[in-house]
């Protein structure tokens, strides 16, 4: 897919203090990743060598994470990883609202790039998708635009933030509903689409000229009849993270061996920033059950049903369960944590006790000393 470029729009969704100082795409996930790693690695694994990341606010943690793109093999002479600095300052959600302006701000980069196709995606989805299949589908269906969706029945019950597609037997998208009260279908748009670059440029220029804001509502919705918009059904695991609950639940899903096997598929690895941590040391007193544990930790206490990031220290007689403990946090002797999300570099002093609820995990902000 050397003929395809990637554009990742980093979202503005706010999840409590977790996104105070970072974009949601930079949210730490599954012990050693950031959310953007998943879609970025999928692009790289499909042979895409030119990816633009459109940043908005709070971009410094994402810039720091992505660096020169070396870890994704994107430190290229031509193409490679492009971090496109913010030009506008409104809140933008998904690749819908305001996305026109955001993409328009990368117009120069788009026209300089030599690729024929663009994969447009948001940066906060956990998945491992083979874009080669999407491209094959796109060409077979002679599509102008291919929108990627997944099927999810549980959303029908709840009020959701999602966009739903109606797709007919010819794979043609016949209707698009944005945040419907009662969605007609169970086909949830993944906020991933494949489009001819020239056509995208044309659509964006048109929309800008008319003051239209929203790629989905203003552009795609109006064109379902005139344009061959197709829907590609993605059958793999999807973790769409837009709330503290979905963040917590999706982390915990990584304890499932089958999901892990699919997401961390060794033929399409998920790349992330290298930290050169030593292996994790377990002391004689350690007791660990059903956990995902990254490198560089020292485990001296009891850990259960938890996700432990790089460089965490769990002290003696500490009991950590159902929790997410991010990088370089220190849980000292005798502490007890249950249903907690500890951001980076948190310290819980001796015998500290922090208990959240399964329906309401509690977040401790980065660097706090409890």
């Amino acid at each position: 897919m050397i003929d395809t470029m990637g554009i990742i729009l980093t979202d503005d969704i706010h999840i409590n203090s977790l996104t105070d100082k970072r974009s949601i795409s930079a949210l730490p996930f599954a012990g050693r990743y950031r959310l953007i790693d998943f879609v970025l690695s999928s692009m790289v694994n499909a042979g895409i060598i030119n990816v633009g990341v459109i940043l908005k606010q709070n971009y410094s943690s994402l810039m720091d994470h992505l660096g020169s793109g070396k870890e994704w093999d994107l430190n290229r002479k031509s193409g490679g990883l492009h971090i496109l600095p913010p030009n506008i300052a409104r809140n933008i959600h998904g690749i819908g609202e305001g996305s026109v302006e955001l993409i328009a701000s990368a117009r120069g980069y788009l026209s300089k790039s030599k690729q024929k196709y663009v994969i447009l995606s948001k940066g906060n989805i956990v998945l491992n998708i083979d874009f080669d299949n999407v491209m094959e589908f796109h060409i077979e269906n002679n599509a102008d635009i291919t929108m990627v969706y997944y099927e999810e029945d549980s959303y029908k019950e709840a009020i959701t933030n999602h966009t739903f597609l109606s797709v007919n037997d010819d794979n043609r998208v016949t209707d698009i509903e944005v945040r419907p009260r009662r969605p007609k279908t169970n086909k949830v748009f993944l906020n991933v689409m494949l489009i001819d670059k020239g056509y995208l440029q044309y659509l964006i220029d048109e929309a800008m000229a008319r003051g239209e804001q929203d790629l989905v509502k203003d552009i795609l919705m109006k064109r379902t009849s005139r344009t061959n918009i197709c829907g590609y059904k993605f059958e793999g695991h999807v973790g769409d993270i837009d709330s503290i609950q979905s963040y917590y639940d999706n982390n915990m899903r990584m304890l499932n061996a089958n999901i892990r096997k699919e997401i961390f598929n060794s033929s399409r690895p998920i790349y992330t920033k290298i930290k050169d941590q030593a292996p994790t040391r377990y002391s004689s007193d350690a007791s660990v059950n059903n956990c995902l544990i990254a490198d560089g930790c020292v485990i001296e206490g009891q850990v259960k049903n938890s996700i432990i990031f790089r460089g965490v220290h769990i002290g003696k007689k500490a009991r950590v369960s159902n929790s997410i403990v991010m990088q370089d946090s220190i849980i000292q002797t005798g502490c007890e944590l249950d249903y907690m999300v500890m951001d980076k570099e948190v310290t819980v002093r001796e015998n500290g006790r922090l208990i959240g609820d399964i329906r309401h995990p509690i977040i401790i902000s980065k660097g706090e000393i409890v």
Binding site: M254, D276, P279, T280, I293, D295
Partner: protein, 410 residues
């Protein structure tokens, strides 16, 4: 090409035949160590931390894995515009090529490489030692004493002196006597095989040594004694800290165990002296509900369902339910089946160990896989093998081939 004050030359050529099946198809510096490292990572990381960014790796034995492992040197910050890391094999000059004859000859053959950087000093290192050392301190010492050659030394137990080059020094630290593997040692200060040389002088000695037909072209046997004979300033630099030559299967195992001690005898988690390596691209390790892990090191990509104690588990290893792994060193991507019991066993990369296997638990007089390289009741299982279910492997075995018939004993 810009100047480098000091060029490091790492001797990585040896076959390391005492490591048996581990080095059949692999240069010794590329042998895995400590869960996510290769032996050469320690020397390379020392170079990085010491600010030495021009490094030659002298290699002629099975360099392929080492070459692809080192690659552009990025993991050690050695992908530099000026200097950087170079793998230096023997090559053909005007008409003929010759293999490296000895440590000194290997450097001799690469004089043109070193000259490119016009260094003041050359640091000669070995690619198969486990240690953390700030070479800048040693170079500073070299400058201060005005030495022509400085040799790093450390005390070894008197009973082991016969395995080392032993040095006697005067009060100023100048070497007055040098014994290669002495029967009657004059001191217990042993050479660590780490040298700083004034490049100009070393070059002269290398050229001289090359002309002598009787020389074995070795630093310890020829270059240093020749320098001493000519009364050049040869000084000792005392090193304090952990250092281990992992030349035998038992010492390789021992060094792995040293990182497990509490507090560790050799600490890998020192944030001020990280050991760099080519990191595997794998998710965090998973520890299941049934697993028990005690006093062990586990790294990325592992799935642990069994019992692990006092062991070093490398990346991508799966240990199934009911398996009992004690005092083991498991290399990357090994799969260990249900109910298997391994003790004091080193398992090579990618090997598949079946179910119900017993290894390193019992002795047998009649052990066809006994190997004199495997001592101290250990077991060594080679890489890329398949060990069938219910095999028993006795103490002091080296397994070089797959066992395809179940239930057998080796």
């Amino acid at each position: 090409m810009a100047r480098a004050e000091c060029v490091a030359m790492i001797l990585a050529g040896g076959q390391g035949s005492r490591l048996g099946v581990l080095t059949d198809e692999l240069a010794k510096p590329a042998v895995p160590f400590g869960g996510k490292y290769r032996i050469i990572d320690f020397t390379l990381s020392n170079c990085t931390h010491s600010g030495i960014s021009t490094v030659g790796v002298l290699t002629q034995y099975q360099p392929l894995d080492l070459n692809t492992y080192i690659g552009s040197g990025g993991p050690w910050d050695l992908d530099r515009n000026i200097g950087g890391i170079y793998v230096l094999p023997p090559y053909v000059k005007m008409k003929a090529g010759e293999w490296y004859k000895g440590t000194a000859n290997a450097i001799y053959q690469n004089i043109p490489f070193i000259e490119k950087f016009d260094p003041e000093y050359v640091l000669v290192l070995s690619g198969d030692h486990i240690y953390k050392m700030d070479y800048t301190k040693m170079i500073k010492h070299h400058k201060k004493t005005g030495a022509v050659a400085t040799i790093a030394v450390m005390p070894v137990p008197w009973e082991e002196t016969s395995r080392f080059g032993i040095m006697n020094t005067d009060e100023s630290g100048r070497v007055t006597e040098f014994q290669e593997k002495p029967a009657e040692p004059v001191s217990n200060q042993a050479s660590m095989g780490i040298y700083v040389f004034d490049w100009k002088t070393l070059k002269e000695y290398l050229i001289m040594d090359e002309k002598s037909l009787s020389s074995s072209n070795d630093f310890g046997k020829n270059i240093i004694p020749n320098m001493m004979e000519n009364d050049e300033g040869v000084y000792a630099y005392r090193f304090q800290g952990y250092w281990k030559d992992v030349g035998t299967i038992y010492s390789l195992w021992e060094a792995n165990m040293d990182i497990l001690a509490s507090p560790p005898i050799f600490n890998l988690q020192d944030k001020n002296w990280k050991i760099y390596s080519r990191n595997p691209i794998k998710p965090p390790h998973y520890v299941s509900d049934e697993a028990e892990i005690m006093n062990s090191c586990i790294t990325e990509g592992c799935n642990i369902y069994g019992f692990v104690e006092n062991s070093v588990i490398s990346d991508g290893v799966t240990i199934e339910e009911g398996a009992i792994i004690t005092n083991c060193v498991i290399f990357p991507n090994v799969h260990i089946g249900k109910g298997t019991v391994l003790n004091k066993t080193i398992v090579g990369e990618n090997t598949i160990i079946g179910k119900g296997i017993i290894s390193g638990m019992n002795s047998s007089q009649d052990n066809p896989y006994a190997d004199k390289l495997v001592t101290n009741d250990m077991v060594l299982v080679g890489g890329n093998l398949t060990i069938e279910d219910k095999t028993e492997i006795f103490k002091n075995s080296m397994v070089r081939t797959s066992t395809t018939i179940g239930g057998g004993k080796i």
